[in-house]
């Protein structure tokens, strides 16, 4: 198929960026979206131009590195996948495709389509853990039975890949879905209850410090999340936060 790509180019964090047009021919449906960009880059290199930089690594939808806004949607038109799992069969001959980086104040552009998401790391550092030491001398793994439903719910929250699509999808660039997923993973487990109060307070404080926006319950984050992280997590975090505030 023949495509017209309109791609955001930006030299570095301090330069101004712009959209540049790239026509591309002979694209097959079985190619992944990133393989299509590989082909474009190979063409650019042959012409002596600088290829387009974009973040990607595992190319199987689990590392959370890839982060493209395609025709205005994080990870493109299909649901429950990352860009690296998107295939060109989702497009048709003659399509124009606009490719931009994830946009948010807390995700500054580094170059072209690459953004800095270390704000997510700092939210996790503020409390996204259980404070046990790593000596291995804890109780036996089966000493604390956990209700299957709770364990499964905890797993579904923990399945977040930290890609930032929730932020890119949100008109307020809120990180509530991301933060609440981690808060929920631990809040649902008996091991995580012990520090639940401090955890939610510290993580929410850091989230605000990073400049993420507020949640206005539009639900766009849940729709665009490649891992289907549920809005229930935000509700759970709000309950945890309220209860923590009352405890002081």
């Amino acid at each position: 198929m023949k495509l017209l790509l309109k791609i955001w180019r930006q030299k570095d964090a301090s330069s101004k960026g712009k959209i540049v047009d790239y026509p591309l021919n002979d694209i097959e449906g079985d190619m992944s979206f990133l393989e299509m960009l590989d082909i474009l880059n190979e063409d650019l290199i042959q012409k002596g131009e600088e290829p387009i930089e974009f973040d990607h690594d595992c190319r199987e939808g689990i590392c959370g590195t890839c982060s493209l806004q395609i025709n205005g949607r994080p990870h493109g038109p299909d649901r429950l996948i990352t860009v690296c799992q998107l295939h060109m069969r989702s497009f048709k001959d003659g399509d124009t495709i606009v490719i931009e980086p994830f946009r948010a104040k807390a995700f500054p552009v580094i170059k072209d389509l690459i953004v800095d998401r270390t704000s997510f790391d700092r939210i996790q550092q503020a409390g996204g853990y259980i404070s046990v030491n790593t000596s291995g001398h804890t109780v036996d793994a089966n000493a604390i039975p956990i209700e299957k439903q709770k364990a499964d719910d905890s797993f579904y929250a923990a399945a977040c890949i930290g890609c930032g699509a929730c932020v890119a999808a949100c008109k307020n660039a809120s990180a509530m879905l991301f933060t609440s997923a981690k808060v929920s993973q631990f809040a649902l487990l008996p091991q995580g209850r012990i520090e639940a109060t401090e955890r939610v307070q510290n993580m929410v404080r850091q989230m605000d410090l990073e400049g993420f926006g507020n949640c206005t319950n539009t639900g766009a984050c849940e729709i665009e999340c490649p891992k289907g992280i549920s809005l229930e997590n935000i509700a759970r975090m709000n309950r945890e936060y309220l209860s923590a505030s009352m405890k002081g």
Partner: protein, 667 residues
């Protein structure tokens, strides 16, 4: 040629580790605060090591090329992690896990290391549960297990098809706790370009900030290399795109011996190549072989009709299907080890029974499992006489619950529904058992330089069993290195900070800058990917699932020529003093072009077949691997001497005191 001392402690097998821990030197908590450690790589091994070392009180610096430690490729491990908990009461024990691992590795790994791995495996599960890793559970609330290849017990703990993700996020969380305490300084989007050795000891690294292009010096009292494997030298593999051998290879070039480079794991169940545009291959977890049956058509004409799209696999009668693993290996069936399953798939496809357009695919079929689970579920739901549609629906639900994300991945890539038609799979490069040679303390041949996880060679011999990589990564990082590194660092309590203005740092930095300048000044004929793909093709065709002396000799020659071509003609666009993904790739491919040659040389030197190393000249009449224990029961450890062809072989003899060395059989 020299011989190597593993430093494995003497004494009874089960007491070696405890005795060793009791005897090695310790560093007192106050002194740990004066000691710096660099950890390169933040996957399971690096992340867990960094967290534990920091918790013990050392000052740790971590380096990863990704934008966050959480993205290391350990995250993509799907199926599970082994531990000899024997929760199922099916006869598991430390000894059995030890035995299975040695046998699975085709008697090419070190007894003492493997026993230690089995011994600490249970603690890993305790540790991870305490950290909040949400493992799969049964309705009674206790942990669930499943089976993996090459074993007869259920010892694999899992979190759906995302076990690696959950374990890595556990290690990342432990790291975050130490980052918050100021005990770990995390350098992301950084790449190690060289190791700095002062007075014979590893004392620092040269790294490049991948965003600014700045070359940095970092000093420490010890350096841990946990940068993963080198399977990406095949270009197409299940590795992530950025996976590289740079840290390990530059360490090798500074004096660390590289062990068993030709021991590579080709995983039997990956999604087949679809075309020339392909950039990577996707694994379908081995756990699928718990329930999936592997087959090809019995008749050549059926295979041809399927390839031409005239026949559907679901239309083929049961008696026209060849479940070749169940036929050849009745005892283990579809759960034979990976090397055996991969070769069997290649054998059928080479014989003309392949089922996709290119003839390089076999079926992995869930119809029988869907039927079995559906029937059971119908009964337990009180439906006594279920019809076929109900059974199918219920069965598909059970399968979805167990493997849902894998089925979704398959459907997205292949555009076929694996609940309705069998998956097509083919072997792909997945893991490297070879790596930096380490002794029992995980120390390389450079004092103060350690290697952990896939980056070392230590525990898997010539073939790794499924769900053992996660176990080894975490064992090394959480439970082994934190003890053994103290033995070395005990001498450094009065050393003080290592200055980065030492002449050794000047020299290493100059070497790095020269190399970058050379890469940037290629004539610009071909892109980096062009060379990477060419190398990958040589490797796959001549050093892949089966090898012979003629091909290996050709490979050595072709790789050496390609390397010369690369350095003269490569096209690296952009500049070195800014973000430049082409330059990053070029540095990595330059190293692959060296290790590729050593790989072929190692494979040529080893005149036997063992595990994943299959030499066509050495096989039984049934086509099974034929080991030569008399002449090759050793670890090959190569010393760098300039060009790969000049590498010098050292041997570590493998001594089996607790296990009888015999022919591996899964029949």
């Amino acid at each position: 040629m020299g011989t190597l001392d593993s430093k494995a402690p003497s004494g009874p097998l089960a007491e070696k580790w405890t005795n060793h821990k009791n005897k090695i030197d310790l560093v007192n908590p106050a002194n740990k605060r004066n000691i710096d450690i660099i950890v390169v790589g933040t996957g399971l091994a690096g992340g867990s090591a960094a967290a534990t070392l920091a918790e013990l009180g050392y000052n740790v610096k971590t380096f990863c090329y990704q934008d966050s430690p959480r993205r290391a490729h350990s995250i993509a491990a799907q199926g599970g992690i082994n531990a000899s908990k024997n929760y199922q009461g099916d006869g598991d024990s430390d000894y059995r896990l030890f035995y299975d691992t040695i046998k699975g590795g085709d008697y090419r790994s070190r007894e003492a290391n493997v026993y230690r791995l089995a011994e600490v495996s249970g603690n890993i599960i305790d540790q991870c549960v305490a950290q909040g890793v949400p493992f799969a559970r049964e309705y009674g609330g206790l942990l669930d297990n499943r089976s993996f290849g090459g074993v007869l017990v259920s010892r694999t703990f899992y979190a759906k098809g995302q076990t690696g993700q959950q374990l890595l996020l556990g290690a990342y969380a432990a790291m975050n706790r130490q980052i918050q305490r100021g005990k770990i300084k995390s350098y992301t989007r950084h790449e190690m370009l060289d190791l700095v050795i002062i007075d014979g000891k590893a004392r620092g690294i040269i790294a490049r900030d991948l965003v600014t292009g700045e070359i940095e010096r970092h000093s420490a009292h010890a350096v841990v290399i946990a940068s993963g494997g080198y399977g990406n030298l095949f270009f197409l593999s299940t590795y992530c795109m950025g996976a590289n051998v740079m840290a390990a290879w530059r360490t090798h070039k500074r004096g660390a011996f590289f062990a068993n480079p030709c021991f590579t794991q080709i995983h039997p169940t990956c999604i087949p190549v679809s075309g020339d545009h392909q950039s990577k291959l996707t694994l379908m977890s081995e756990s699928l072989r718990n329930d999936g049956r592997i087959w090809v058509p019995k008749k050549l004409e059926d295979a041809q009709a399927i390839r031409e799209g005239k026949l559907k696999p679901t239309e083929l009668a049961e008696e026209d299907r060849d479940y070749y693993l169940e036929r050849r290996y009745p005892a283990f069936g579809n759960l034979v080890p990976r090397d055996v399953a991969s070769r069997a798939a290649k054998e059928r496809c080479d014989a003309g029974y392949g089922v996709n357009k290119t003839g390089e695919a076999v079926y992995l079929d869930f119809a029988a499992a869907i039927n079995r689970y559906g029937t059971e579920k119908a009964y337990t739901s009180g439906i006594k006489d279920p019809d076929a549609t109900t059974v199918r629906k219920l069965g598909e639900e059970v399968i979805e619950n167990k493997y849902g994300n894998l089925f979704q991945m398959y459907q997205k890539i292949v555009d076929e529904n694996p609940y309705k038609t069998p998956m097509m799979i083919y072997p792909a490069v997945h893991y490297t058992m070879g790596g930096l040679w380490v002794d029992y303390n995980l120390q390389t041949t450079i004092p103060g330089c350690y290697a952990a996880g896939e980056a070392n060679f230590s525990d898997h011999g010539a073939n790794r069993l499924g769900a053992s990589a996660l176990m080894q990564g975490l064992a090394d990082g959480y439970f082994v290195l934190p003890y053994t590194i103290g033995d070395f660092l005990a001498d450094d309590i009065r050393t003080g900070t290592i200055p980065t203005d030492a002449p050794e740092f000047d020299k290493a930095e100059k070497d790095v800058n020269d190399k970058i300048a050379r890469l940037m000044s290629g004539k610009g004929l071909h892109s980096v990917d062009y060379y990477h793909k060419k190398l990958g093709k040589i490797m796959w065709d001549k050093c892949g699932m089966s090898r012979n002396a003629t091909d290996l000799k050709d490979a050595i020659k072709e790789i050496a020529e390609l390397r010369i071509d690369f350095w003269e003609n490569v096209n690296v666009t952009g500049s070195a003093d800014s973000k430049n993904q082409e330059l990053e790739k070029a540095g990595r491919v330059a190293d692959f072009l060296e290790i590729g040659e050593l790989f072929a040389k190692d494979a040529l030197e080893r005149n036997e077949s063992c595990g994943g190393h299959f030499r066509e000249e050495y096989q039984t009449p049934e086509g099974e691997a034929l080991r030569d224990d008399k002449n090759y029961k050793f670890v090959s450890a190569w010393e760098y001497k300039g060009e790969p062809k000049d590498a010098v072989l050292h041997k570590e003899d493998l001594v089996y005191e607790n296990i009888e060395v015999k022919t591996r059989s899964y029949k």
